[in-house]
Point group: C2
Chain length 453, copies 2
């Protein structure tokens, strides 16, 4: 391992320069104008993996954005690790809140600033470079495959089919994923739970055109007011989601589990201070850790209708729209929840409006067993580089494809992410600590070592 360490140390600067090249490609999967950037990004990664030591790397077409597949097979009988990551990134709005150019990364205050710095380009590139270090020093102890997709931020619509078609190619003992966060650099953790997601869009239409709010105000249902009313009805005063059947399959933790769960370090004062909020808000009877870790939630991710420009316009909009997503927990099923949502939303809409409900994407919740060999290997690897045993952690986030891997490929995933909550993923001014990036590259070879043993 000393050789690996030395190699990493000697090539640190170059690793960062390469990551910057990757970050400069604006591979936003949600926006169709970036289609060419997706292809370009995939080709860049395939070339980078060959240079890093892969025997072969391919940009494989799908119905959507391509998947980068690469592999190095040292011995068909050895264990195989399948590294999963995603090269697509979130949109950058609100653009004006960025202090630097989102696709012109810079290092400042010991951090890399730019869209994708953490999620997930920074994290996936740690794997490419750890792999390079092991290849270059001839110390790779098992087979490695890479599967890097370009649609994670829109729910991986093509990857399910890709996995189903390429089961043999993707055969592995474990899927290794760095697309999550740790509690802190002082308290490392391994994510063993992810929430699922059901992402909906609702459109409320009132009159067939925008109306003058003086001539019609008070007599005609205003779709923006009605949308506010309907959104408000989705969650009651105690923070419970009101959709009938929504909680039917939610697994309640036992008192002992809840006690253990709440042992993760958490400081309410610091939490509120970091977000600059006067109070938290959520489902009554649960702690903040529980609310994000093991309880479902419902959030408006976007809402718009009527005149949103400068000044005033006295208008009753013809329609108002909201993007609403729900985070799900075991054993909720995102397809069932999407249907329950649609049924309920339509049922509570008044006759004065028409509503259209669309399901934009979804994913199942996931729980990783803490007793599998890969988990144990990761625990040892992290202890080696962080000097402290990692805690199991339930993240509130979702990586919908993870449960898909299990059901389609029959392979468990290990979620060994090096992100931190301050990385502001999905937000303006996303960043990734240089120490996180390099600590990740240092840790990954240990994982291979212990996993292969």
């Amino acid at each position: 391992m000393d050789q690996v360490k030395q190699y990493i140390e000697a090539n640190k600067e170059r690793f960062l320069d390469e990551l910057f090249e990757l970050l400069r490609i604006p591979s936003i999967s949600a926006q169709s104008e970036h289609k060419p950037d997706m292809q370009r990004c995939a080709e860049w990664l395939a070339a980078a993996l060959v240079k890093a030591g892969a025997d072969r790397a391919e940009v494989m077409p799908t119905e959507g954005n391509p998947v980068v597949y690469a592999e190095k097979i040292i011995d068909p009988k050895a264990k195989t690790v399948l590294v999963y990551g995603h090269y697509d990134v979130m949109p950058v709005d609100p653009r004006e809140e960025w202090r630097t150019e989102p696709f012109e990364p810079v290092v400042k205050d010991g951090r890399i600033w730019g869209r994708g710095a953490d999620d997930d380009k920074g994290q996936l590139y740690m794997h490419a470079k750890a792999f390079e270090a092991m290849c270059a020093t001839d110390s790779l102890p098992c087979n490695v495959k890479f599967m890097l997709e370009g649609e994670e931020e829109i729910g991986s619509p093509s990857l399910y089919g890709f996995c189903a078609k390429n089961k043999k190619l993707l055969k592995a003992d474990i899927i290794l994923v760095s697309d999550t966060s740790m509690i802190s650099m002082q308290q490392p953790s391994i994510t063993c739970g992810l929430r699922g997601l059901a992402y909906m869009e609702v459109e409320v239409t009132g009159p067939n055109k925008d109306l003058h709010s003086g001539l019609f105000g008070g007599a005609v249902a205003n779709p923006a007011n009605v949308l506010a009313r309907l959104v408000n009805q989705l969650v009651d005063e105690t923070g419970r989601i009101t959709i009938p059947g929504f909680y039917d399959k939610v697994r309640e933790l036992t008192p002992a589990e809840r006690k253990a769960f709440n042992k993760a370090p958490f400081c309410m004062r610091k939490y509120k201070q970091a977000l600059e909020i006067g109070a938290v808000e959520g489902e009554e009877g649960y702690t903040t850790l529980e609310r994000t870790g093991v309880r479902p939630s419902l959030d408006v991710n976007g809402i718009w209708g009527g005149y949103i420009g400068e000044g005033t316009k006295t208008v009753i909009p013809s329609k108002a729209t909201a993007k609403i997503s729900m985070r799900l927990v075991p054993n909720q099923n995102h397809k069932e929840i999407a249907k329950l949502f649609e049924k309920h939303f339509k049922a509570i809409a008044p006759k004065s409006v028409k509503v259209v409900v669309k399901s934009l994407h979804g994913g199942q919740p996931y729980v990783a067993p803490t007793d599998m060999p890969a988990y144990k290997a990761a625990e040892k690897a992290i202890k080696e580089t962080f000097g402290k045993k990692p805690l199991p952690f339930y993240s509130g986030g979702s990586i919908p494809i993870i449960s898909g891997f299990e059901s389609i490929l029959g392979i468990k995933s290990l979620l060994i992410g090096f992100g931190l909550s301050e990385d502001a993923i999905h937000s303006p001014n996303e960043s990734y600590g240089l120490n996180q990036f390099y600590k990740g590259i240092d840790t990954i070879p240990y994982f291979y070592k212990y996993f292969a043993e």
Copy 2:
């Protein structure tokens, strides 16, 4: 009057060409980038009024957009009519819903299509052309003054000061305004009531940055959800506005007044059909005519927050904003109502968010007496050209400056508008019937005749 009629008939085409020139100027007062268009529009109108026969016309600066003042004094001892109109227009969003270019007017199906075709360029230009016809035929029976402002659609902020400064210049017996609608071409009407307006903007801020809705969803107040909740709380299930004190000064009609009021022709089936709505919605216990004519209302005119682009983004927005306006009736005071709104909105906001409430503009409600000479003259003039006596009508709209005219200048206004509800003012595809335009030009000289008698 025969000469006047002949003159109008002979010059019809040119009148329309000139109106088109006026409509091509994108004089949107709400958007600061159109500042130069406001000046250009004012200069165009001043020149047009001189050509029409005014002794003098001036573009008079104000703190905001200029006022066009023009006059023709035939005899200092004769009666004086002050024509008021506004050359500014509403924004054009949603731009994509226009079937023609908003600032490239066209005639189709007997109607003029374009922003301002009715509100208020089409209507004010009828006055310019009726004035021209009377001047050209030497049949103007009284003095005429014009005051055309460029800020009506943003609440006439500068016109109050302009009136206060120019009381002598603006001295008149009546203010003549065409900026309202009639019931229909078959049932003409004169507007004798206008609602007031209090236009607010509220901004709800939660966390100090956009957050990942997975990592934080369920634990942190989402400002878009909170905004929906607060907006919803402003109106109860019976359609009553919940702001404490809101109805204190509302004058309730007597049963006899209500009976008379509801005599105006109204067909619910046609009303719903024209708007393509399944049901109307409003304050319980009142008819649709009452809801827009004599009852106050509260509408969201615009709402936005979070990701409103294509596809999905799993974000808890840092802030969400709404433009909310209230239509007011006698004897509500828009300044008092704005204060009550602000106080109430802040009071109902939870500790988990910060709110900012701004008052964007306002105006007092207005009632025109139906027994004043100008009303009687208008009644006779309309009967002359429409063949039917006009009904008094309470419009739900607001022209905030009208009550200002009375309080500052001590002059009543006569609201003789030739608009129709199908003109879609403030909406995409605004239009104005050629018959409305020409019938207006025909009617106005009769008003002068009977008013001067």
